[in-house]
Amino acid sequence: MDLHSLDYGPIWLTLQLATVTMMILLIIGTPIAWWLANTCSKIRVGIEAVVALPLVLPPTVLGFYLLIMLGPNGWIGGPVQTLTGSPLSFTFTGLVFASTLYSLPFVVPLQSNFESIGKAPIETASSLGASKWDAFFSVILPLSRRGYLTATVLGFAHTLGEFGVVLMVGGNIPGKTKVISIEIYDRVEVMEYAQAHILSAGLLLFSFLILVMVYSINKKLPVNVS
């Protein structure tokens, strides 16, 4: 196997995509999970279902709708085009958008973490004079380490392995939308099995290692409130 003929572009791009997606997921996933954990609203089950949809839908459904929505005639791509001059399809930003939707179900389970912590710690913190934000960052966040670790790693790993959606909205542009999974697909297609093997085995090993890491760290962390 020839390591020199390997193009590192898709690997680097995939890592960037997974990192950016994971950060956005934590930023938007936290308030969603927090709201779901604390609300008595009637639309709660609806929101829960929407968030979990990418788990059960085939990526082709998401890919098809995203292709239409992110394009210049779509209701997301259209306004973006008038603002920036370019629609979201075939762009890195478009992939980040798609991946965020796609991996959201792996981060929102933070909800059960927040539920198990309950309201007591935050109420205690408030009674001691902490602001809501302060209470969240200095009480809830440390108590949720385990949940955050799992959410972060799973969100990241799931984005690494994304294929169907990217295939449909990416357009296979080197350096912008050609991620590892697409590269592997192309290599298999043209019978360059050696390169396909290197990339596939690499991804397999990498995914295995981060999962082992998260499970072993999780074992050492407290389950929740002691």
Binding site: G171, Y185, E189
Partner: protein, 261 residues
């Protein structure tokens, strides 16, 4: 208890006989599985319908990219006939002893068209529209995996647009996805097959330009009988039908160039 059991047996026996009764007429006709490159999906539907009507045999169509189907055949996929979008893959199968020697022939020659769904991109005036700045993306089939993509690359290289257009290229996994990019408005111009355009002309609209055959190597779409179907009379008959005047006429109607007629 015993009564119950015998009732069960009766029921099962009945169901099994019904099952075989339904199966009986179908069992007389033979079924062949034909692996088809995705650009040929429309003509194959009409061809297999015609073949089914005249012979009573069934044709099951499996479509995909030529590369993927080739890999599947290599791994022992249960297909009798392979209709590729190029000549390389059937040649390889013949050499590797997976295809039946001497059964290979060109069933269609593909034509490329440059097409835009929106007439304002004026693709009918030819390749120089690619020099304009009024469009964001040009969709082509991936030259590495799709024969139509390879031909497109040859056209763009020969005419000097290849380097200039790089930043605006998006690549479809196959010719169907390339069309999809333009239909959904994500790409403004695309190089697709004439067969796609002619099978849904009214639906697609827009303007197009037929790429002259002199600008790229011919897209020879070849068929081959697979070894596992060596003894299948129906599979051979189907290939004969593709070659026949009737078959070639249908293929021509879908926008392919055919050699014999």
């Amino acid at each position: 208890m015993t009564i119950k059991k015998s009732k069960w047996c009766d029921l099962m026996y009945g169901l099994i006989s019904v099952f075989f009764l339904i199966q009986a007429p179908i069992a007389l006709a033979e079924q062949i599985r034909v692996a088809v490159a995705s650009n040929f999906i429309f003509p194959i539907k009409e061809l297999s319908k015609e073949f089914e009507n005249t012979t009573g045999n069934k044709v099951l169509v499996i479509s995909g990219s030529t590369g993927k189907l080739y890999a599947q055949i290599h791994q022992g996929a249960p297909f009798e006939v392979f209709l590729a979008a190029d000549s390389n893959r059937p040649e390889l199968l013949e050499k590797e002893g997976i295809g039946v020697p001497g059964s290979r022939f060109t069933y269609a020659v593909g034509r490329l068209v440059m097409w835009s769904a929106d007439p304002k991109f004026a693709t009918k005036f030819g390749l120089h529209v690619l020099g304009q700045k009024n469009f964001r993306y040009l969709a082509i089939a991936n030259p590495k995996t799709a024969p139509y993509g390879k031909a497109t690359e040859q056209v763009l290289r020969k005419t000097g647009y290849w380097k200039k257009i790089q930043s605006r290229l998006v690549r479809g996994e196959n010719i169907s996805q390339t069309l999809q990019f333009v239909v959904t408005g994500n790409a403004q111009i695309g190089f697709i097959s004439l067969s796609q355009l002619s099978s849904s002309r009214e639906l697609l609209g827009g303007t197009s330009w037929l790429v002259p055959l002199s600008l790229h190597e011919p897209i020879q779409q070849q068929a081959i009988l697979l070894k596992r179907a060596n003894s299948s009379q129906v599979a051979r008959e189907f290939l004969k039908f593709l070659k026949s005047k009737k078959g070639q006429k249908i293929i021509k109607n879908y926008g392919y160039y055919v050699e014999q007629f």
